[in-house]
Each structure stands twice: as C-alpha cells, then as structure tokens.
C-alpha cells in the first residue's frame, strides 16, 4: 500500500512546494483571463455572462502550465528518476495529476475572489459545491494536459495543440456565447464538447444563467471525462517504450 500512496503523495507535495517557491506563477495564470474577462465583460456590459468562462480559462492555463513541464521533466528532470524507480506508473500519474489539479484549483479559487464583480455573492455553505466543481474541472483539464504532454517530444508541439485544440475548445464551450442561441453546426460541436459541461456546472453552482443541462448531467459528464482521461494517462504511462523521448 505504502509503495503506491507514498510515491503519489510525494509527487503531489512536490507540485505544491514548487508552486509555493514560484509564487509569481499565480500572476501569469490569473492575470490574462482576468484582463480578458474585464475587457469583454465591461465592453459588453455583462460581466456575469463571461465569468465562468474566464474562471475555466484560468484553470486551463494552470493545467497547461503544469503539464507542459512533463515534456522537459522527463528528458532532464525529476520524472527521469521516476521512470526508473519501482513505483507503479499509475501512482506516478495519479500524484502528478492530483498535484497539478490542486494548483489549478487554488488558482481557480483565487479567481473566485473576483466573483462579486460579476454580481455573484457566495455564502460559506455555497462555497463547498463551488469549490468542489472547480476541483472537478481542474482535475479534468489536468488529465487532458497530461494525455497531450506525455507523448510530446517538444514543448513547441504542445503550444500548437494548445492553439489549435484547447483554446478553440474553450471558445465553443459556452464561455463566450450560450449553446441555446448558437448556429446549428456550432451547437452540435458544443453539445459534444466536454468543456461545455464544465461551464454549465459552474454557472449552475454560481447561480448564473445558461446552466442547462443542469447540475446532475454537467457533473456526470465532467467527472466521466476526467476519469476517462485519468485512465488514458495511466495506460499511456504504463506502456513500454521502444524508443526514448530523450
């Protein structure tokens, strides 16, 4: 048991310690979604409509930032020693994803401090489901980042995927316009986009509009997507290599 928990716990802790020592990272992750949000929100006179999208973007940036480091880390970093340690790969994957998800979550919570600007008042009791929703979204996006980063040989490749897949995925998730008024094709894409359900989940827990299809479906889809990515990460990491990334 300890040979599974201990490696995962040490990886999780490592993420937090590194984060604490590079606190300026927070600024990089939170600042640009905040600026986007304020510009679009004040520009269109509707801060509330874009709030959840901006929060998800914060979480996404943090998840990308954490998982992109996998590429360098396994070539010349701590991940190398993990690869030749007897610790199970699944424990390694879990530790890395939980650690990075925790950081994304913390940054999402920091963004939550701006909720009053969107007219959202969160009581202590409401904080629990909101925090849980943000964690679930953080976990899912970190899993997505892991799956993309694991096979990558260069960070440039990750940047390309970020621009061609992740950012468009965010744009058609209901972060900028609701599914209800979207054009047919786009609406279909939004319906199939797992991120759409992250946005509706947040809108629902924050009491903002555009929360369909309701908390139950939103939570279920987000959680299922997250678990699927965790499984994929585990399978990818456990695979034997016939060529080295280094």
């Amino acid at each position: 048991m300890s040979s599974f928990v201990l490696p995962a716990a040490t990886l999780w802790q490592r993420e937090l310690v590194r984060f604490w020592r590079q606190k300026s990272r927070v600024l990089g992750v939170v600042a640009s979604p905040l600026v986007f949000w304020l510009l679009i929100g004040y520009g269109s006179n509707d801060l509330a409509r874009f709030y959840s999208g901006a929060l998800v973007l914060t979480v996404m940036f943090s998840a990308i930032f954490s998982t992109i480091s996998i590429i360098e880390d396994r070539r010349e970093g701590f991940l190398l020693s993990m690869l030749v340690s007897p610790a199970p790969r699944t424990s390694m994957v879990l530790g890395k994803i939980l650690g990075s998800a925790t950081l994304a979550w913390i940054q999402g919570l920091i963004f939550l401090a701006f909720a009053p600007l969107a007219g959202v008042r969160i009581g202590v009791l409401e904080l629990i489901p909101v925090a849980a929703a943000i964690f679930l979204i953080s976990f899912t996006l970190t899993g997505l980042g892991f799956v993309i980063a694991w096979r990558m040989e260069s960070t440039a490749g990750f940047h390309a995927i970020m621009n061609l897949l992740l950012v468009p995925m965010w744009m058609v998730s209901g972060s900028l316009f609701p599914m209800a008024t979207a054009h047919g094709v786009i609406r279909a894409i939004m319906w199939a986009n797992p991120l759409t359900y992250s946005i509706t989940l947040l809108n629902g827990t924050l009491g903002l509009p555009n929360a369909n299809p309701g908390p139950l479906v939103s939570t279920a889809v987000t959680a299922a997507f997250g678990l699927l990515l965790l499984l994929a990460s585990g399978l990818m990491a456990a695979q034997k290599a016939t060529r080295s990334a280094a």
Partner: protein, 302 residues
Amino acid sequence: MIEVQNLTHRYGDRVALSNVSFEVKQGEIFGLLGPNGGGKSTLFRILSTMMVPTEGRAIIAGHDVVRDPAAVRGRVGVVFQTQSLDKALTVEENLRAQGHLHGLSGDDLRERMDRAMERLGLADRRNDLVETLSGGLRRRVEIAKALLHRPQVLLMDEASTGLDPSARRDLTRHVESLRENEGVTILLTSHLLEEADRCDRLVLLHQGRIVAHGTPRDLRARIGGDVVVLETADAKALAAGIEQRFGLHASAMDGHVRVEIQNGHRFIAEVVEAFPGTVDSVGLHKPTLEDVFVHETGASIE
C-alpha cells in the same frame, strides 16, 4: 551480476545495437567506451529499463529487464547523463522524494539520507536549493540519490560530462570507494579514455557492435610495442610510402600517419631519413585505448 545476451536494437531502419553480449561480475567497474552514436546510450537505456530492446535479453541481479522491470529497478541505481533532480527543491528534499519513490520512509529513510549525504560530502549542503549548486555537486547529489535504496548495481551514463578535471577526479574517487566499501557493481559509459582506463574491464562499442572486450591492459597489449605518429602535409602519400618502403601497416588520418611498431625510436630515425623534409613532427607513445580503438575500427573515438 549483469548478463547481456545478443542484444539488438533498431530505431526504424537504423540499427543502434547489433548482437551485443557481455557479462559483468559482482564488484566490477565495467566500462562501455565508444564515440557518441556508437550504441552506448541505447544500451544504457535498455539496461536501465527505460526502453525495450528489439531482440535479445539482459539480466541484472537475476532479473530480466524486460520481463520484470520492477525487480530490476529496485536493485539498480541509475545516474543519468542529463539531470534528474528537481532544481526548485533542496538536496534533502530531492533525496526524500527519491526515497519515497522506493517506498522508504521514516527513520530508515532519514538514516539512509544522512549516510548518503555523508558519503558524498553533501552534509553541509543539505538545505541548499539544487539550482544553486555547481555541476560537480549536482552530480554528487545524483549519485547519492541513486544509492539511497542500496542498489547492487550502479549504472552511470557519461557521468563526468560537463565536469571540470578536479570534479571529475573527485567523482572517480567516490565511485572507487563505493566499490571498495559497499561492493557495488558499477557499469559506466564514457567517451573519455582516462575514465575507461580506470575500469576493471570494458568493451569498445563502434556502430552498435562490440569491437574489443577485455581489461584495459590486455586491450593495450593487442598492439605490440609503440605507436608512432607522424604529422605531415600529405598523410595519404606518406602512409603509402611507408607501406611500400618498410612493409608496415600505416594508417592515414587527417594530417597524420599512425604506425604500430616495436622499437619505435629506431623506426623514427629511419622514417625521417627515408622521407626527408616531409615529416613536420614526430610523436612516440605506448598504446592507449584510443590506439586500440583506431586499430580495431580505423576510426577515432573523438
């Protein structure tokens, strides 16, 4: 302690290792010497369980690296050519994390960490961030980290790369004392002759094949006598002239001619007289591993 049997590895069409076999005995310091691209790194990746070979097998401490990598990983310490430390953590934090990866914790881990830091002279640096350490010190942290779980075998890939001569000597001293005091078997890859010379036994790798195999002394003894090196403007012409005139094998390599011969000092006088004005400078030395490599492959290690 290490058995390598008919290992072959291909990256697509490119053959990186071709039917490599050798054995390393317990407590030996064993070297893989060869130029970059000779197959050392591929072999290292296979032995450290990072990669599965195309054919053949390797057994370390009784366990197959492909079939039972977890058992091998628990018995082998790996020192990479590149860094495998977390620069944002301290020396102690890196070691503790490594211990956790091996399922070690509590007092046992603390004792092992103290001992490893003591052994490698890192005790007064334990709370320093790795990013503030010199290259030589980082290398020592890497070794301390690799020893934490008391491996029977230590694999080191180009461990002295990027170190200055004093840090390199220091590293050699630590490696030798490990073998003396702990009986650790050490397999290292290198493209440095002086490092290879300190191994008990070694193999020379060239284009994925073993071209020579033995103790440094035996390997050098393959070349009888001396090696004479002549610098000249036209190496090919001089080599041809020597072969014709003396009936000796002479090899021409960028700007100089090498001849392996008994009583080289006499030959020097003869050759300089025989080709007046063509020889710019003359050198005579006892055979080195570089000479053995040139002898076997016609190519230079560097």
